[in-house]
């Protein structure tokens, strides 16, 4: 399963993402943002970091990178695309996912473990989780406060497009468990076709008990399993 991990100037979680894909048996390949080659690639991942220094606005410049044209057509053809942290911001800026990520309510960079509830397990990204499972994953961002207009929010909720929600230890989406002020405690969403996903927390940093959590493993396992199934179906 060939997974392209895209590196923009300023990406800094590409290496972690690469390792996570490798750990679950996928075949990660780095793609520099100018290398417009997604031939034979089964999934695309946009990593966290500070593409173009987050200057202007997080993700606002990276979305004009050459490779983004190919990512857009890859997504349009139904290929799975994952954006984590800065990758999520880029996907929103590129219009592949709705809404926007603004500065945290605290107006500070925040780095901590958060808890999220898995809202759906029928996607290529979450099939290895159990419904409603509460997972613990690190987050680290300054602009992770998810916002969208009323209509979009209604659509997200109505179509069940919220994939992860910040919750407390009991699985309740309370304001105390919301680290950054995101509307409706939204931590991650998926598009209508179910093949483009973005999330602020870092599942690739929750791959080993030694480092504090293994709760990110099922996400990568889900993706690799769905690719294997898709390959079997001859996609």
């Amino acid at each position: 399963m060939r997974v392209a991990v895209v590196t923009f100037p300023g990406s800094n979680c590409d290496y972690d993402l690469y390792q996570a894909v490798k750990q679950v048996g996928g075949n990660p390949e780095f793609r520099w943002h100018r290398d417009r080659d997604l031939d034979g690639i089964d999934a695309v991942m946009l990593s966290g970091g500070f593409s173009y220094g987050d200057y202007l606005r997080a993700g606002a410049i990276a979305r004009f990178s050459p490779i983004m044209e190919d990512v857009v057509s890859f997504a349009a053809s139904g290929g799975p695309v994952v954006g984590i942290c800065n990758g999520f911001q880029i996907l929103c800026e590129a219009g592949l996912l709705p809404g926007a990520l603004i500065r945290n309510e605290s107006l500070r960079f925040q780095s901590e473990d958060c808890r999220m509830r898995v809202e759906r397990t029928d996607t290529p990204f979450t099939s290895a989780y159990s419904p409603g499972q509460v997972i613990r994953v690190p987050l680290a961002h300054a602009e992770g406060n998810y916002r969208a207009d009323e209509e979009t929010l209604a659509h997200l909720e109505g179509e069940n497009l919220v994939l992860f929600r910040y919750v407390d230890a009991h699985g309740e989406a309370t304001s105390d468990s919301n680290p950054n002020g995101s509307t409706a405690n939204i931590a991650g969403i998926v598009n209508e076709s179910g093949n483009v996903m973005g999330m602020m927390p870092h599942p690739e940093r929750a791959m080993e008990a030694l480092l504090g959590s293994e709760d990110g493993v099922p996400l990568f396992e889900s993706l690799v399993a769905s690719l294997a199934a898709g390959a079997g179906a001859g996609r």
């Binding site: 996570a20 970091g49 500070f50 960079f109 780095s111 690190p138």
Partner: protein, 778 residues
């Protein structure tokens, strides 16, 4: 006072006409450059003529304390620098040690005190940027940063502004580049009012064969300026850093503070590592303090060559920059690369990929001269060796300040009789900014990027595993400036001992140190005394623990309006953990576990946080330290950890045993309680809150306790069971001979959690002149 230094060499520069438009070199201009009349005389002897304005600027930067170490070099020679595992000692961009399995660790600490006092955000940010570059120019990939900070009392708006800005600066820079912060320390004490300390440390990893040094070898090889363009920022930063601050400095000195761009740094990091691995270059160095001047002359100095630079070829940000400005600019995110002749295009290609520039600006020569031309006209020609090594060094006479001696010898009545409720005091101490949770700080630092952090900030030491091996490295920074103030030598010994103890508590074998010597003006005998004693103590302890010093930084003139900071020789120590299975944390884990105390309680309260917090007193002798016992203690704890039976290990430090126990109880993911009994025939305050050295608290399952006690005794280390871990709702209880002191777990958690937020999340006004103490301007 005596001055010593290399005798001027016979090599004579040719005559150089003054550059039209440059100021004339007059005694006033010389003095403005921080050059003493004696030093100027030496310059004239080296040159055989009057230096030009450009040449004077170059000497001024290279002979500043920051680059020339003129007041510290003789003292630095006292420090042990060698061990079989040291691959690169002092004198390079960073020290390097062998950590096994073919890997080497580059590490170094550096100060950015003066810039941070003036512009806290940029000062701290560029401090992190500089230390990262020192590491990756060795060929190592940065894997962790730590920050060692000191501020005045948090009760003034000015200090809150400095603290908030520094934390944001440290965070934003490291976060953007993507290097996890794994620890450090911060103290708040009026001893740092007006002159904060901002020291940043970085660790980098490489394979042995990836090491590269900063040399300018190979006559004819091109010098290339790589990375950001040269601007007018930070000109004479090195000289500025070597002067005292005055009241008006935060306005007037701002142009001397550099501005950081972590995005460019990230690109430069990747490009530099790719360049180093490519084989197209022979040497690389950061254009840090004193910019192009120091990087070019130091690289040439290491290989005994000369260099010639044409300033007209240096990519600049604005037109009309003079050679003087270009040579002394401290614009950030720039590298000087010595490429192999004929490989210039390959170098450019790598830089282009990372969207950066690389321009040939000169070449390596064989005449030993530092020659600068501007469009073909020579504007500077200085014999390289005396410029780098000829800086006069001074050995001064130090004498102890009798006022400090009197403080040390002061009677401490509180040591005998408590005057307050001990339970209340226990909870209240956690509200001290010095003992409260550091979460407010490290919550702003990315601690988990690069997926290597095993122990993040908030523990005795940070730990990062080495992927693909069973190994990990641990790192800590330590220095209690109060101890050093009260007794410089002993305080420095304690800094080393405590650093080693902190590493040992994670399961790491202390291996080497980098130091950051922060002091006031060495020209004052009272300060020089502190420097000399502290370095002597550090040397003694480092020799004893076999932790050589592989490099570091000296920051002098940390004074505001004549008032010096506490002498603060920060120890940045690294250690190696051979098997990640042995990594140990500070927090108690399971109710029922047995708590062991290693080491002895004493009747010492001098220099303690208790005295500062409750009595506003920095007095008494700092705790005594027995190096033999320390070493045995550390060996015993490492042996105990290797048995696999130790469930937690925590050093007793500021706040004493009661604080250490409580930190173990509430420092984990789930708080617990404990019941402890102390039968020592000591007054309660020093027993609970005294800061006796050489103590470590362990916990283990009940069935392992006997074996652990026996093991520790084999090392002749005092050890006893003092109690057991309980459920959180039974609270924290210490029973003394005549009373029980009990607090609720939640009171401790709350007090500790809120100490920084309740001060920092109050509205912080930007500083105004009126808010600054002692200022009468409106």
């Amino acid at each position: 006072m005596s001055a010593a230094g290399a005798a001027p060499r016979a090599l004579r520069p040719t005559a150089v006409d003054p550059r039209p438009g440059d100021p004339e070199v007059t005694p006033e201009v010389v003095a403005d450059h921080g050059i003493s009349p004696d030093e100027y005389e030496r310059i004239e002897r080296i040159m055989g003529r009057t230096p030009t304005f450009t040449e004077l600027g170059v000497f001024s930067a290279m002979w500043s304390e920051h680059c020339g170490y003129k007041n510290s070099k003789p003292l630095l020679r006292l420090l042990p620098t060698e061990a079989p595992w040291v691959i690169q000692g002092p004198g390079e961009n960073a020290g390097v040690i062998d950590i096994g399995d073919g890997y080497a660790l580059a590490f170094k600490i550096e100060s950015h005190n003066h810039p941070s006092a003036v512009e806290p955000y940029q000062g701290a940010a560029t401090g992190v940027g500089g230390i990262l570059r020192d590491i990756f120019t060795m060929g190592a990939r940065p894997i962790a940063v730590l920050d060692s900070l000191r501020f005045g009392d948090l009760d003034t708006g000015r200090v809150r502004y400095l603290f908030g800005g520094v934390v944001k600066g440290v965070g934003d820079y490291g976060n953007c580049v993507g290097i996890p912060n794994i620890g450090g320390e911060v103290y708040f004490d009026r001893g740092y009012e007006g002159n904060p300390i901002v020291n940043a440390m970085c660790l980098g990893l490489m394979k042995h064969d990836e090491l590269i040094t900063a040399v300018a070898e190979g006559v004819g090889n091109p010098l290339m300026a790589v990375g950001a363009r040269t601007g007018r920022d930070g000109i004479h930063g090195a000289t500025f850093a070597s002067e005292e601050l005055s009241e008006d400095d935060d306005v007037e000195s701002r142009p001397m503070v550099q501005v950081g761009d972590p995005f460019t740094e990230k690109l430069l990091l990747e490009a530099s590592l790719e360049l180093i691995r490519s084989g197209h270059i022979v040497g690389i160095q950061d254009m840090g303090a004193a910019g192009l001047t120091s990087s070019a002359t130091e690289m040439a100095g290491r290989s005994g060559t000369g260099v010639e630079i044409d300033t007209a070829l240096v990519p600049v940000r604005e037109r009309g920059m003079t050679p003087y400005e270009i040579l002394l600019s401290e614009s950030q995110e720039r590298m000087l690369v010595v490429a192999k002749v004929g490989h210039e295009d390959e170098v450019r290609k790598i830089l282009e990929k990372w969207e950066l520039e690389a321009e040939v600006i000169g070449r390596v020569t064989d005449d030993g001269m530092f020659r600068v031309v501007e469009d073909g006209t020579t504007v500077c020609e200085i014999p390289g060796l005396p410029l780098v090594d000829g800086c006069p060094t001074y050995q001064r006479d130090g004498v102890e300040n009798p006022e400090i001696a009197a403080l040390r010898d002061m009677e401490l009545p509180e040591a005998v009789e408590p005057q307050r409720d001990l339970a209340e005091a226990w909870v209240d101490l956690f509200d001290s900014p010095n003992l409260g949770s550091r979460r407010w700080i490290y919550n702003q630092y990315d601690t988990t990027v690069r997926t290597g952090t095993v122990i993040p900030p908030g523990s005795d030491a940070g730990v990062v595993r080495i992927r693909g091996t069973t190994r990990a490295v641990a790192a800590t920074t330590d220095c209690n400036g109060r101890y050093v103030y009260l007794s410089p030598k002993q305080g420095a010994v304690i800094a080393v001992a405590e650093a080693a103890r902190n590493l040992v508590c994670t399961g790491a074998l202390p291996t080497a140190i980098t130091n950051n010597l922060n002091f006031g003006s060495p020209l004052k005998p009272h300060i020089y005394h502190q420097m000399k004693e502290a370095v002597t103590g550090m040397a003694e302890a480092c020799s004893f623990f076999e932790t050589p010093v592989t490099g570091g930084n000296v920051s002098l003139y940390n004074e505001t309006d004549g008032r010096a900071i506490y002498p603060t020789p920060v120890v940045g120590m690294v250690g190696v953990i051979a098997d990640v299975a042995n990594i140990t944390r500070m927090a108690f884990r399971d109710p029922g576990d047995v708590i062991l105390l290693l080491g002895d309680n004493t009747n010492e309260l001098g220099g303690s946080e208790y005295l500062y917090h409750f009595h506003d007193l920095v007095a008494g002798p700092p705790p005594s330290v027995d190096l033999f016992l320390e070493r045995s203690l550390q060996q015993a704890v490492l042996a105990a950890i290797r048995t696999g039976a130790v469930k937690s290990a925590h050093d007793c430090a500021e706040g004493g045993l009661a604080i250490a126990l409580a930190e173990s109880a509430v420092g984990g993911e789930t708080p617990v309680g404990f019941e402890v009994r102390l039968n020592d025939a000591l007054p309660p305050v020093p027993l609970l809150f005294g800061e006796a050295q050489g103590r470590i608290v362990l916990s283990c399952a009940p069935e392992d306790a006997d074996a652990l006690v026996e093991l520790v005794r084999e090392y002749s280390v005092p050890v006893r069971r003092i109690g057991r871990v309980t459920a959180a709702d039974s609270g924290l209880s210490i029973t003394l001979r005549d009373r029980e002191v009990r607090v609720t777990t939640s009171d401790v958690v709350e007090s500790r959690r809120n100490a920084l937020p309740r001060r920092m999340d109050a509205p912080v006004a930007a500083p105004t002149d009126a808010a600054r103490s002692g200022s009468s301007t409106t």
